[in-house]
């Protein structure tokens, strides 16, 4: 297998983008990635498009074919990848395999979602369609509801506290306020969301014991990367190439109830382990991580299951500041899903794009992890039933 590098990355600001269609957003992000790679008016061999809901939300299908047409990339091969909230990382994984196999040399991977054009209950219902159609969906369970149940179990088993969850929310919104691509650019304080009389109004329950500020926003957005063989990247890259040093993907039961220990996110552990083994690295080699914090609890639980902290220690690490910029392991210096936003099909690609920006040392000093050489991303599908992880490494030319 050939080693695969990322030579271009592009993203558009996430948020509410009423003026843009899904195809507009995918095209804008893709053009940015093509320009970033120095491919300009050149073609690619294949295109993978990550999207979860266009068929439901926009009544549009075959988005990969549509994007190829928008970008005049014919006759490139084109495939859409739908894997729930892990669609983005799944699409990149497929692109990496295609280049690694030697079959394609240049691959565009774009992820996008347009969720804000429907009312809240429709967006909530759309996301809930990933739950089990017989055993879960009829009851009105939502992904925040799953996270609420999971959080209570975690509190009971590991002594997780609300203050630890709040520490994650405050950190990620602070970083989001510094990220020009973030949906939520608002700094929050513990007083405002927990300690003052106004907190009850500012931060009501969303899915007990989780509150509004434990949740990511519903967002529109898109992101894209360009992949090619590492040896080609070394010769032609305009910017520092980033090696896809390792990836992993694992699945778990569809329903939480059938997991022997519902607090054990086995797919996170296995996907991360595979990624580290392929990269010949350990969690200690990682300089920063972009984790799937759709809910604050997930950043903590993933940081433990991926191997960065022992079980029960992730919340304490967040509260101590170990996961802030300058801490032992900065997590979600992009603001994470919590602040950058969570257009579901775009998220896994956006995590990798943010990782590329970090590894190319392109961010301002208020978000840049000094001397970052190795990054880790984790994209979490369903409620942990399909997880994709990457270890990415800066290549010095």
């Amino acid at each position: 297998m050939r080693q695969v590098a990322i030579i271009g990355a592009g993203m558009i600001p996430f948020g509410r983008r009423d003026e843009d269609s899904l195809l507009d957003m995918l095209a804008y992000a893709s053009l940015k990635a093509l320009d970033d790679a120095g491919l300009g008016d050149k073609g690619v061999d294949a295109v993978y498009v990550a999207n979860m809901g266009a068929g439901i939300l926009q009544r549009q299908t075959s988005v990969a074919s549509a994007l190829v047409d928008r970008l005049s990339l014919m006759p490139a091969a084109a495939d859409a990848v739908e894997n729930g909230p892990a669609s983005g990382a799944s699409a990149i994984k497929n692109g990496v395999l295609a280049v690694a196999s030697g079959y394609y040399d240049y691959v565009l991977v774009a992820g996008g979602e347009k969720m804000r054009e429907v009312v809240g209950w429709k967006a909530t219902d759309f996301v809930s369609t990933m739950t089990h159609p017989e055993a879960e969906y009829p009851y009105g369970i939502t992904l925040p509801g799953m996270a609420g149940m999971f959080t209570r179990l975690y509190m009971e088993k590991y002594g997780l506290t609300r203050d630890q969850l709040i520490a994650v929310a405050i950190k990620n919104q602070k970083m989001g306020a510094l990220n020009p691509f973030a949906h939520v650019e608002m700094i929050i304080t513990k007083e405002g969301i927990a300690d003052s009389p106004d907190a009850v109004v500012n931060n009501p329950f969303a899915a007990d014991p989780l509150h509004l500020y434990d949740m990511c926003p519903v967002s529109d957005g898109a992101a894209a990367v360009i992949l090619c063989p590492l040896e080609t990247a070394k010769k032609m890259a305009k910017k520092t190439p980033v090696l896809v040093a390792g990836f992993g993907q694992a699945t778990d039961t569809h329903t939480l109830q059938e997991r022997k220990d519902p607090t054990d996110l086995k797919a996170v552990t296995l996907a991360s382990k595979q990624a580290f083994e392929m990269a010949e690295a350990t969690p200690k080699d990682v300089d920063f991580a972009e984790l799937h914090d759709a809910f604050t609890i997930l950043e903590i639980a993933e940081s433990e299951h991926a191997g960065f902290f022992k079980k029960g220690e992730g919340g304490k690490a967040a509260e101590r500041g170990d996961t802030r910029l300058g801490g032992k392991l900065p997590i979600n210096m992009s603001g994470g899903l919590k602040a950058r936003g969570h257009p579901v099909g775009a998220t896994g690609v956006a995590q990798v794009v943010d990782c590329v920006f970090q590894l190319r040392h392109e961010l301002g000093k208020d978000r840049q992890v000094k001397g970052a050489k190795t990054g880790f991303t984790l994209n979490f599908g369903g409620f942990g039933n399909n997880v994709v992880a990457f270890v990415l490494r800066r290549i010095e030319l």
């Binding site: 909530t124 009851y139 509801g145």
Partner: protein, 114 residues
């Protein structure tokens, strides 16, 4: 307890109880199952109260939980309780088969615990 119209599946090879259905046993991969219904009181394993509801509900919030019946069947359902503070992990609940939502004007039935 009213008749609970869900079917769980016990692996004939290793005895693992499944709900919902799988074509192969989650543990031993065998394909033969005995069908059983949930029996006995339901022990509450996990619960939440959801404030942002999807399509099909005319209530302000929903309390939802996962229980384990005495014959090891685990299932999700709605919880009929006026205050979530009265719930506790491990408490025993009774299960009923009642409307849980409407879809295109028709009642959809499912498990309700109280």
């Amino acid at each position: 307890m009213s008749e609970l119209k869900i079917t769980a599946y016990v692996c004939k090879s290793c005895g693992r109880v499944h709900y919902p259905f799988h074509d192969r046993c989650l543990d031993c991969k065998a394909r033969e199952f005995d069908q059983i219904q949930p029996e006995g009181p339901a022990k509450l394993l996990a619960y939440t109260e959801i404030y942002n509801l999807p399509w099909g509900f005319d209530v302000r919030t929903l309390k939802i939980g996962v229980v384990e019946f005495s014959n090891k069947v685990r299932a999700m359902g709605q919880i009929d309780a006026d205050d979530i503070k009265k719930l506790k992990t491990g408490m025993k609940l009774k299960a009923f088969w009642e409307p849980v939502r409407k879809r295109y004007g028709e009642d959809v039935y499912g498990l309700v615990f109280r």
